[in-house]
């Protein structure tokens, strides 16, 4: 019995081409490649680590998140939690996105210090490992794969977060007079070759939330929506939004609310 082996893809991603070298064709090619990669998304590696962390007894209080953390669907339950957030949590008296909520559980239930988590909340370009919180978010997000976004807009407090986020997106300031909407307020716009989703439309908002948390092939890092918001403000020439703050939740609520009713595909893969 002779076994024939076909090497399908040994993926060596080095996206070193300058922006100017990219053409529309290159974009289409990349899109095909990205779609193929979705079937073997390295994000799964982070999911596995996140699952271990979720179930492990950790922190000064030696409890697991699985035994203590309610993401809105019952203690320990991750199914649908990601697509049904941001939501209002009475015990924290705040509307929170999933990352902020997990951070809250880690500090309140496990006894971790917020400052320790916030010191380095995102994976740097050359870090070998993602922070625990990123792995946890990726695991929780995997529990909403192929479910529709269903942020509870009827909840007055969630609605307030949405409307405040909408107003924040229109706020112009800084040396270049930019707001979020300068780039993300109209259809069919690009920065260089990068297509800019119009976050005020259902289609654009979906593009804003789909694929996060996502594995970024440039640098091989796993990043969350909290990171995406952070880096947008960098490019907007604004100061930095504090990690896991209400400001970031409001913006995520604005996008998720506009994306409501559309399918979330789980942790994604990004250029």
């Amino acid at each position: 019995m002779k076994k024939r082996i076909v090497l399908l893809a040994a993926v060596a991603v080095a996206w070193t081409g300058s922006a100017s070298a990219q053409t529309k064709d290159a974009n289409a090619e990349f899109e095909k490649f990205r779609a193929e990669m979705e079937e073997s998304n390295p994000a799964e590696l982070f999911e596995v680590k996140g699952e271990e962390l979720w179930k492990a007894k950790r922190g000064p209080k030696k409890v697991s998140l699985a035994d203590s953390c309610d993401l809105g669907q019952g203690v320990g339950k991750i199914e649908g939690a990601y697509v049904k957030a941001p939501r209002y949590f009475a015990d924290a008296d705040a509307v929170m996105d999933i990352e902020r909520r997990i951070v809250w559980c880690m500090t309140e239930k496990q006894g971790f210090k917020f400052e320790d988590i916030a010191k380095k909340p995102f994976q740097g370009a050359n870090d070998n490992n993602a922070p625990d919180i990123t792995n946890l978010v990726t695991y929780v997000a995997s529990g909403s794969r192929n479910m529709e976004f269903d942020m509870p807009m009827h909840d007055a407090k969630v609605r307030d977060a949405f409307e405040t986020g909408k107003a924040m997106a229109a706020y112009r300031a800084g040396p270049y007079d930019f707001s979020c909407n300068t780039c993300h307020g109209a259809d069919g716009k690009r920065i260089r070759m990068q297509n800019l989703p119009n976050l005020s439309s259902p289609e654009g908002a979906l593009r804003g939330v789909l694929g996060w948390p996502g594995y970024r092939m440039t640098g091989g890092v796993m990043l969350t929506s909290q990171w995406r918001m952070n880096d947008c403000f960098r490019q907007q020439r604004f100061p930095e939004p504090k990690y896991a703050s209400q400001a970031v939740t409001n913006l995520i609520a604005y996008m998720t609310g506009n994306a409501n009713g559309q399918m979330y595909k789980g942790p994604g893969i990004k250029r």
């Binding site: 024939r4 993926v11 060596a12 070998n128 640098g219």
Partner: protein, 103 residues
């Protein structure tokens, strides 16, 4: 200790499609850190795959492969229920073995 692999194996027609995700830094030895020091090379060197007790892949890779490598194979002659065992060894002698069953 190295992180676990993620292995998926399922029959597609007469061949088993095996997809493997490995968690590894795959440092090329060419990169410098923020302080300007060269980051030492650290990469997977050998990969073996056994299906149903038979070695079907015995290969070598190098620094051209990106961090967190993804591999896909189509293996003829395999059948549902076969055990897939994947092993890698890197240039520092770190290793990892994980397994899955063909679905």
């Amino acid at each position: 200790m190295a992180d676990p692999m993620k292995i998926r194996a399922s029959m597609k027609g007469d061949a088993a499609e095996v997809r493997i995700l490995m968690s590894h830094a795959m440092e090329t030895g060419q990169r410098k850190d923020a302080a300007g020091n060269t980051v030492p090379a650290h990469f997977i060197q050998t990969i073996t795959i056994d299906v149903g007790g038979k070695r079907v892949v015995d290969g070598q890779i190098g620094t051209a492969v990106a961090r967190n490598p993804v591999f896909g194979f189509k293996i003829k002659g395999a059948k549902a229920g076969d055990k897939v065992v994947v092993n890698w060894v890197d240039n520092k002698g770190d290793k990892r073995t994980d397994e899955a069953t063909v679905a």
